[in-house]
């Protein structure tokens, strides 16, 4: 998969940008605040139908304007694919593929798979379980439509069940019939989602271990363990047992929405014991494994978007990454940003297929 051209209109700090890109490495350099990350975000938008940085679409419109547009031409399996996205303040977002409007935005997810690596990714390790679920859910959802649908359905049912519990205001004589309707909808979804997550981690782990070894040469064995109440045999019983607790706390306390993933190096939690370098390598390996996994499953190379990934890495690890990324067999097109032009120039020196673009105030040179 390859992005040939991109046009941005009033998207974030871009007035009017038109650019052509080539296969291989497209290196976007320029000072911070000039719009490097926003350009990657526009590409993420085309893939996931939303911004990775700000999900309030109105705030992605350039100040003082009333709409934004992202127009693009991709090449997917020798076919030209025109993806256009348009959002006008107060209106429904419109996404068109080869001129035809997509009915449901979620139907588009997975058409242009993408992997975005940013400096904030260590949140996956440091923050709460929600961030980890979100990460792995997006990997699975990009190639498994029924999983995405189950997930959307579960979230909606949970929202209704929780609203119902809130309105009930802690009273124990709740309308049990309605609660049962929600529970009968949720239980099979919890099972379906947990089974998929469990199977996924088994499929995904080999990709991850391989990538970690390539970036961080060491003796540690990394691991990911999926942790969920739902997979235990008596989950249904457990779920029913906490129903009074749910009523009192006015939320759903058990279910797949509480699942977590535990990251470890030699069985020691990375969150607690990992150094900054280990944590950063861990998440880069997670993301590159996502890339390999999606590529294998979808049979096409995802867009690889790397935002400022050299930051806080020592020279040796940057060298390793650069030689990884310049493997043309593995990556067909990469977008990478760096605030320090001379650093990227030095590390990529002598490598074929690297293009530099300078970004200054929403303009590309």
């Amino acid at each position: 998969m390859k992005l040939n051209s991109l046009k941005l209109t009033y998207f974030k700090n871009y007035d009017a940008l038109e650019a052509n890109f080539s296969s291989g490495i497209n290196c976007l350099v320029g000072k911070n605040g000039m719009g490097k990350t926003n350009l990657l975000d526009a590409l993420h938008y085309l893939s996931m139908t939303r911004s990775a940085l700000n999900t309030v679409d109105g705030q992605n419109i350039q100040h003082g304007e009333s709409f934004f547009a992202i127009n693009s031409v991709f090449e997917v399996a020798d076919q030209e694919l025109r993806i256009n996205c348009y959002f006008e303040q107060g209106k429904k977002k419109v996404l068109k593929v080869n001129g035809k409007e997509v009915d449901k935005l979620s139907d588009h997810i997975g058409r242009l798979p993408s992997v975005l690596i940013t400096p904030d990714d260590t949140e996956i390790i440091k923050e709460g379980s929600e961030v980890r679920r979100k990460f792995f859910d997006s990997v699975i959802a990009q190639h498994d439509r029924s999983y995405l649908e189950a997930l959307i359905q579960m979230q909606r049912l949970l929202k209704q069940r929780n609203s119902f519990l809130k309105q009930n205001d802690g009273k124990l004589n709740i309308n049990r019939q309605l609660l049962d309707v929600y529970d009968e909808g949720l239980l099979p979804l919890f099972q379906q989602i947990a089974k998929r997550r469990q199977a996924f981690i088994e499929e995904f782990t080999p990709y991850f271990i391989k990538n970690y070894a390539q970036i961080f040469e060491g003796k540690e064995t990394p691991s990911i363990r999926y942790r969920s109440d739902v997979v235990s045999e008596d989950f249904e019983l457990q779920f029913k047992e906490v129903f009074q607790k749910d009523i009192l706390l006015q939320r759903t306390t058990k279910g797949a929405h509480r699942d977590d993933y535990v990251f470890a190096l030699n069985d020691r939690a990375v969150k607690k014991f990992g150094s900054q370098g280990q944590q950063k390598s861990f998440v880069i390996a997670l993301k590159l494994a996502e890339y390999d996994y999606l590529k294998t499953l979808k049979g096409l190379s995802p867009l690889l978007l790397l935002d400022d990934i050299f930051d806080k890495l020592d020279d040796e690890r940057i060298h390793r990454l650069v030689s990884l990324l310049t493997d043309e067999e593995r990556f067909s097109q990469i977008f990478i940003t760096d605030a320090r032009k001379e650093r990227s120039e030095a590390f990529f020196e002598g490598k074929a297929n690297v293009q530099f673009y300078e970004i200054h105030d929403g303009q590309l040179k």
């Binding site: 359905q153 909606r156 049912l157 929202k159 209704q160 069940r161 609203s163 119902f164 809130k166 309105q167 309308n175 019939q177 309605l178 049962d180 309707v181 929600y182 009968e184 909808g185």
Partner: protein, 203 residues
């Protein structure tokens, strides 16, 4: 927007509360009314006032009516079957198919706690009472609700509540697109859905 007068602004404010009408359209409508004879605006406000004050809902099926005895009292209708819909436009859509001659029951919405609509905010209790009070005259309840998660929730809930009555509960076949509202489905598809309805099971 700047308005030439406080009165115009007030009118625009009220008109633009209507669905699908923005401030610009509201302003155009307000100025249009000012150009028409005064009697016309009086007739409009009078009819809106009458609509709100005099409209009746049938006590039995909750269809909008001018009087409290509505078509559900017409002897020519098949009184052994009740079709449950969310709103009045759905009744009209199903009538227009010509495929259904039974009774209706208008819920007035669907269960959605996040929108503040619980089972008590829709006419479910009155449906259960209606089935019970009919003795065993009502043999079948057809659920013709939208195929959204909330429509499904409402359907499952009603089925649970009707269980003890022993009445047969069926649902119209879903040739209707997901999230689709009955009202917008074409007559042919809707007619076929009613004809080929299937038994609904909550278990």
């Amino acid at each position: 927007m700047e308005y030439p007068s406080k009165l115009v602004e007030q009118a625009v404010e009220e008109i633009s509360r209507l669905p699908g009408i923005g401030k610009k359209t509201a302003l155009r409508l307000a100025l249009h009314l000012l150009k028409q004879p005064e009697s016309q605006t009086a007739a409009l406000s009078e009819s809106l006032k009458d609509l709100r004050e005099q409209i009746k809902y049938c006590q039995t099926c909750h269809i909008i009516a001018d009087t409290e005895d509505c078509t559900c009292q017409t002897p020519s209708r098949d009184t052994t079957v009740i079709c449950v819909v969310e709103d009045t436009p759905d009744v009209l859509a199903i009538r227009n198919t010509g495929q259904y001659n039974g009774l209706f029951h208008v819920l007035g919405g669907r269960i959605s706690p996040m929108d503040g609509i619980g089972p008590d905010q829709v006419k479910i209790d009155s449906l259960i009472a209606r089935v019970k009070q009919s003795g065993s005259e009502v043999k079948e309840v057809i659920l013709a609700l939208s195929s959204t998660m909330e429509g499904d929730t409402t359907a499952f809930y009603i089925t649970k509540m009707l269980k003890e009555t022993g009445v047969k509960v069926s649902t119209i076949a879903r040739g209707i697109p997901v999230g689709g509202e009955l009202e917008y489905t074409d007559e042919l598809t809707l007619g076929r859905s009613i004809a080929t309805r299937t038994l609904f099971s909550a278990d």
